[in-house]
Amino acid sequence: MAAEPRGQEAAEALRHRLDLGHGYVDVFRVIADLNIELYRGTFEGALDGAFLRKDRADFVFVNSNGSLTRQRMTAAHELGHAQFAVEDGEGVFEDTDGDDPEEKDAYEFARHFLMDARGVREQVAGVEDQLHRVAVVASHFVVSPAAAAIHLKLLGEVEPSFADTLIGKLRSQEVKAGDLLRCFGLSSTFTEPLSAPAMIDGAHRQRAIGAYAQGLLTFVGLADSLVLSPEETANLLVAEDLPVRDDDAPLGKEFEAELILG
């Protein structure tokens, strides 16, 4: 029997201790609540994150040069290291897929901390379709569909062969995360580019047009959000009685603010 608690046990114990329930958790807030120093920044190379224990204080570093889902997973992984015995003055730097037991424990901790097993089972109860299960978990727990598929496979909630095939398709981008969620009527703020215009719902379309009208969304951003060509986007704007803006052109006088000198 291992001397250290396993990842799942440690994750569930921490959720219980902090009274986090079984649903979505804000891992960054948890790290702050535990008085762990969190640093976000862009690191050179492929370093995703790091954990350091120094003078009995814990430090977590997360590479901010990635999506929020990735940063969440990295932060949870580093939080996992904090749960296990690390000698003072030691650190863990994540730039490879480690095979050692501590890394495996930290990965297991991260999956279970972000996607509590009981919470996952509650979410997928009554959902028969395996793809739908992956989409539900990714959307609810704000993780990538690949992470959701791995977790569901390891929990025995989807067939291993199904999960492996899906993960391969997600990694090769044959299946887009955003499409996967959207085709089940789900959304996440952290999805990949959409590729099927027919899937875009009316509310999303109106929000995007509204954001463009307010100047929050560029022409390119609008076209990208609605999966339209530049010509289609220009036609849409004409139909909506909105100007077609050149994102990089100098701004007009309407952007000049009144200056109060005294």
Binding site: D26, V27, F28, R29, I31, A32, L38, Y39, R40, G41, T42, S64, N65, G66, S67, L68, T69, R70, Q71, R72, S144, G178, T189, F190, T191, E192, P193, L194, A211, Q214, G215, L216, L217, T218, V220, G221, A223, D224, S225, D247, D248, P250, L251, G252, K253, E254, F255, E256, A257, E258, L259, I260, L261, G262
Partner: protein, 211 residues
């Protein structure tokens, strides 16, 4: 039914700009450094300049191409670096990035150069700061939040007000910045057919600014 008048940029409170905390996007410090005037910013905004972590990262990266940028960061950064880490913060920043760049920023890929502007806008909104920027995205994004965005022209006016510069020398700095590649501030074009009017406007404002 009459359409509501579109919201315009927030009026700029210049006296407060001379005394309160302000946040910098990357562009204006970069160009001040490129013309060898980075230390002017350090002096003018001593102890009240703020930059988000992303701007510090961008400047640090740009120092490889423009060694003068190091004067902004070393031996002491010209501004206090604010590094927010909560998830609400990340989400707000990502919303801006998505708005500007489309959904591709949600992929597991680097966010690119716009993170600085996004973090500035979120920090302004959170902390009630004025912003120094000359970026289309920042200017557009500031309007719905009614964030005050000062440009290089206002920094040059501040040089007249607090930096011991004459109006003529302050204008010359602005011309140096635009000659280096900074695009002109709104209303202060420097093309041949604009520059005389821009200069006249600047001088009229500078005459009202007392040292």
């Amino acid at each position: 039914m009459t359409a509501a008048k579109p919201l315009g940029p927030a009026p700029l409170d210049f006296p407060t700009f001379l005394t309160a905390r302000v946040i910098f996007d990357t562009t204006i410090p970069l160009y001040f450094a490129r013309i060898g005037r980075g230390l002017l910013l350090a002096g003018l905004f001593r102890d009240r300049a703020v930059i988000p972590q992303a701007v510090r990262n961008e400047l640090h990266g740009l120092a490889n191409d423009y060694p003068q940028v190091r004067t902004l960061l070393e031996p002491k950064c010209f501004a206090r670096i604010v590094n927010q880490t909560d998830e609400e913060w990340l989400t707000e920043v990502d919303k801006w990035l998505r708005g500007w760049k489309g959904v591709e920023v949600w992929e597991e890929i680097p966010n690119g150069d716009d993170r600085g502007e996004a973090e500035c806008l979120v920090l302004c909104d959170r902390l009630g700061l004025q912003m120094v920027a000359q970026d289309n995205k920042a200017l557009r994004g500031a309007i719905p939040k009614q964030i005050q965005v000062f440009s290089a022209i206002h920094v040059c006016l501040a040089l007249k007000a607090k930096g011991g510069f004459s109006a003529e020398d302050a204008w010359r700095i602005y011309l140096e910045l635009t000659a280096e590649g900074l695009h002109a501030a709104v209303g202060y074009g420097v093309k041949a057919d604009e520059i005389a009017a821009s200069n006249a406007r600047f001088m009229a404002l500078a005459a009202q600014v007392k040292p």
